[in-house]
């Protein structure tokens, strides 16, 4: 089953019926319905996956074909024969079968050598830059996705533009000056919680909000009525999806997989949320922050990432929703090429950004950074992370990246849109 936004409004508000009998329907409902049918937004969805702690890109997309790799990593170098080979230089980590499959199907692109100017290589400082998208003003108080949410806000809209899904404190990237970006832990947070014995509570909620009011002057009353009606419809649709979901999709038993499964349900419910933010690594400094004995821990994190994301993409593809979804991973920085004395690596600069979805050109984007031309022991970045953001904002979401990022960035040719 696949719904468009228009179907959604038809079923919930009866848009077409309202349009044909305009005189009988309350004016504010007609206005909502006309706005919806005129609506020209693409309904595209962005899912961001934050890899907290600084993912070692060199052991994720492994440059096995370059002698420098094994030479610098006496204990951490992965054996070439175990990698999923992309070409004669690169291969995915041995536990990333899922990513390899997505890559082969054209559902995954690897933007190589992405990083940020002014990174001080501290977790907090670097993460702050990826969140604010403003390396010149590290103290900036809004996140790029928060600003994106603000940029599309309209006084008449009743949908939440973005949500954070996960068990940790909301990442700063969603901090908005005006818009409220909710955090949810599970799908139950978005269904209506009925009191015992109040079985008709939800229909009463809806019915009481639909009734016409005699006050035609106060603009807030119809606005709250519309929000309530949209909330009723949203809760209903999500309940319906939550009921039908089990069995339809196979997700591994990882936390990220559970989170992405929730995101998939919310996408299926088609409730107007354009941006989902999720996280792997436990938030703050943890997860990918391995300075000692990195191999085993990194291995399981990459496995979680790869298999969870692959399950998510498979689920969306089965539901014929993949063309509407773009996933983007990021981490605050990559790692040094040389391992330290404790079988770990230091904080670096460049790292790959993964994009997954149904409208990608696929393949590798940009060259792999040099393993000899280094910046404090780490591969240098050649692609400013804001070029990826700008591409996603403008070409995918249809927002104005200049409003969000403050200026124009050269876009990447990575999407089939």
């Amino acid at each position: 089953m696949s719904y468009t936004r228009r179907d959604f409004l038809k079923t919930t508000l009866g848009a077409s019926a309202l349009l044909s009998f305009t005189s009988a329907a309350p004016r504010f409902l007609v206005r909502a319905a006309t706005a919806a049918s005129r609506r020209d937004d693409r309904g595209t969805i962005l899912v961001v996956v934050q890899l907290s702690g600084g993912n070692d890109g060199l052991n994720t997309v492994v440059p096995y074909g370059d002698d420098q790799y094994a030479r610098n990593r006496p204990t951490l170098a992965l054996p070439p024969e175990e990698l999923y080979k992309i070409d004669s230089l690169l291969g995915f980590h041995p536990r990333m079968a899922g990513f390899m499959r997505l890559y082969e199907n054209g559902h995954l692109s690897i933007v190589q050598g992405v990083g940020s100017p002014n990174s001080d290589r501290s977790h907090d400082g670097a993460m702050r830059i990826w969140h604010t998208a403003d390396p010149e003003q590290p103290g900036r108080q809004t996140g790029w996705l928060g600003r994106a949410a603000d940029s599309i806000w309209q006084a008449s809209r009743t949908e939440a533009p973005a949500v954070f899904v996960g068990p940790i404190t909301q990442p700063f990237g969603l901090n908005a000056e005006n818009a409220i970006v909710p955090s949810i832990r599970s799908i139950q947070d978005l269904t209506a919680d009925q009191l015992p014995g109040h079985e008709n509570g939800q229909s009463l909620w809806k019915h009481a909000a639909e009734l016409p009011r005699s006050d035609h002057v106060n603009p807030l009353l119809p606005f709250v009525q519309r929000c309530t009606l949209n909330a009723c419809a949203t809760a209903r649709r999500i309940e319906a999806v939550a009921k039908t979901a089990p069995g339809n999709a196979e997700y591994p038993h990882f936390q990220l997989a559970g989170t992405l499964r929730t995101v998939a349900q919310l996408i299926r419910a088609d409730v107007g949320i354009r941006i989902f933010f999720t996280e792997l690594g436990g938030g703050g400094i943890g997860g990918f922050d391995n300075h000692a004995n990195q191999l085993g821990n990194h291995c399981s994190l990459l496995h979680h990432l790869s298999e969870s994301l692959a399950a998510f993409i498979d689920d969306l593809e089965r539901e014929k929703l993949l063309d509407r979804v773009l996933v983007m991973t990021f981490s605050e920085f990559g790692r040094t090429i040389l391992e330290n004395g404790r079988r770990g690596t230091g904080h670096g600069a460049a790292a790959p950004v993964f994009l997954a979805g149904g409208r990608l050109k696929g393949g590798l984007v940009g060259p792999h950074p040099s393993l000899t031309d280094l910046d404090n022991g780490a591969p240098k970045f050649h692609t400013d992370f804001r070029r990826v953001y700008a591409t996603v904002l403008d070409q995918w979401l249809g927002f104005d990246s200049r409003i969000v990022l403050g200026r124009q960035f050269e876009q990447l040719d990575i999407l089939n849109v």
Binding site: A160, I180, D189, A192, L195, H198, W205, T228, A235
Partner: protein, 474 residues
């Protein structure tokens, strides 16, 4: 139920159903004159509820009844300066807070104070200043400094804005949050001067980049070291500065004096308080608020300004009634205050954060924008679910809130009268007849006959009442 209440409740006498012929909204003399009830604009339950929503966090039934018999001006007297010993209450609360180890726990203590205080207007204004001088604990990372910060806001909330501004300019939490904790002569930073001029006082567009840079030099010499404010004279730039047309060897205090001399400062604050206390749907026209701006510019007396607003014809007019969207705190406490009990505020602080209002952590230095931003389909589901959690009778909030018990306490003995009571309590019965009938019809079908069924039924009924669109309006 009293005859007086019966008389005062009716939908016929509600503010909005009567044409506003008697309101001379555009006449400043009329707008700011104290409201005296008359035949066209009677004092009623709806207006008492309105006053308690704006100047407090809602009211219990006894307060509403008392307000009806006291009339508007005496009720405002009590809200401005309650008879109970507010200072002793706040001292006790402060003592508890000092021993609290985390900022998250401070949120719970503040909510508790909002619910129990004998002076709710003071907390309401403290919340206003928390959004005006918005300081986010995640950057300060120090519960003691955040406690001092909110205490500072409370201490000045209804006194002099000039004094409050001076305290804020020396508040370690504020300076740490803004990254203005090291103002070196060699590297003056505009981290405090910019929000001071653009956000806290005049508002944007009233000063130039140059004014901000010059003012930044006046703030050199101030540092926060180990949570304490210190002044290092050799780090102060004592040379001449040019600020807003003035010239002198200005210090930080001079900058505050200069921005307070600007009419734009008074104007900005009057506008902002108007939006908080009176109406957020339309800006007041300049002629209407001119007398307040003039007067406030002279003394920056907050109590006087707030008092003028709360007593006014405009405040009690149709231009103000239900013309604000409740912030999450107002939504939740409206339920709690109405049902006269204390709930777990640790849980409540978390739930309010989920609705977008994380106390002690405002999103930016500009605070919460609020208004329509508070509400969308997702936060509306969140409010619905918070009401369910509060009224469930079990779970994280326990059985503290019991609508049926409260209705009985106030003389109701069966479902119909209890339902009417709850509509009076939460909505002052100011609903369109069709909405009211729909609600009452539901009450008849949900409520059982035995007392257990009635308790359950009234929980459901109260839930339906507080999830009506009207209840989200302040």
């Amino acid at each position: 139920m009293d005859v007086q209440v019966e008389k005062a409740r009716g939908r016929l006498e509600s503010v909005q159903s009567r044409p506003a012929v008697a309101e001379k909204l555009s006449d400043p003399g009329w707008a700011w004159a104290p409201y005296e009830p008359d035949v066209d604009r009677p004092w009623n339950l709806a207006k008492a509820g309105h006053l308690y929503r704006r100047a407090a966090f809602g009211a219990g039934w006894d307060q509403l009844k008392q307000a009806l018999s006291d009339g508007p001006q005496r009720t405002v007297d009590g809200l401005l300066s309650p008879q109970a010993d507010t200072e002793a209450f706040n001292r006790t609360c402060d003592e508890y807070e000092v021993s609290v180890g985390s900022i998250n726990d401070l949120r719970a203590w503040w909510l508790r104070r909002m619910i129990q205080t004998p002076h709710p207007l003071l907390e309401k204004m403290t919340l206003f200043w928390h959004s005006h001088f918005a300081t986010n604990g995640s950057e300060v990372k120090n519960a003691r400094l955040m406690q001092q910060h909110i205490r500072l806001l409370r201490g000045g909330a209804l006194k002099s804005f000039a004094g409050l501004l001076e305290d804020i300019s020396r508040d370690p939490a504020m300076l740490i949050w803004l990254g203005a904790d090291a103002n070196r002569k060699a590297r003056p930073s505009d981290n405090f001067a910019r929000p001071l001029m653009e956000t806290f006082t005049m508002g944007s567009g009233h000063c130039t980049e140059k004014d901000i840079q010059e003012a930044s030099r006046a703030f050199t010499g101030w540092f926060v070291l180990r949570g304490k404010l210190i002044y290092i004279p050799r780090e102060h730039d004592g040379s001449v500065k040019y600020i807003l047309g003035r010239e002198g060897n200005f210090t930080s205090d001079d900058v505050l004096r200069i921005v307070l001399e600007q009419r734009a400062t008074s104007q900005m604050l009057v506008h902002k308080l108007y939006r908080w206390l009176i109406c957020e749907t339309e800006k007041p026209d300049e002629i209407t608020i001119a007398p307040l701006v003039e007067s406030f510019a002279k003394d920056y007396d907050l109590l006087k300004l707030v008092e003028t607003m709360l007593r006014s014809n405009l405040f009690f007019s149709s231009a103000a009634y239900r013309r604000r969207i409740k912030c999450p705190v107002e939504f939740a406490l409206g339920i709690v205050k109405g049902l006269e009990a204390m709930v777990s505020t640790t849980q409540l602080a978390e739930d309010l954060a989920g609705l977008g209002q994380n106390l002690y952590y405002p999103p930016t230095v500009k605070g919460w924008t609020g208004g329509r931003y508070w509400i969308d389909s997702v936060s509306m589901i969140g409010r619905y679910n918070l009401a369910s959690a509060l009224l469930r009778g079990s779970g994280p909030y326990g059985d503290k809130l019991n609508p049926w018990a409260i209705a009985q306490e106030h003389g109701c003995s069966e479902a119909e009268s209890a339902a009417r009571f709850l509509v009076d309590l939460f909505l002052q019965n100011d609903l369109d007849p069709n909405v009211y009938e729909t609600l009452m019809k539901a009450a008849r079908t949900t409520a059982g006959t035995d007392s257990g069924g009635l308790e359950k039924g009234m929980r459901c009924f109260a839930h339906s009442a507080v999830t009506l669109p009207e209840f989200h309006l302040a």
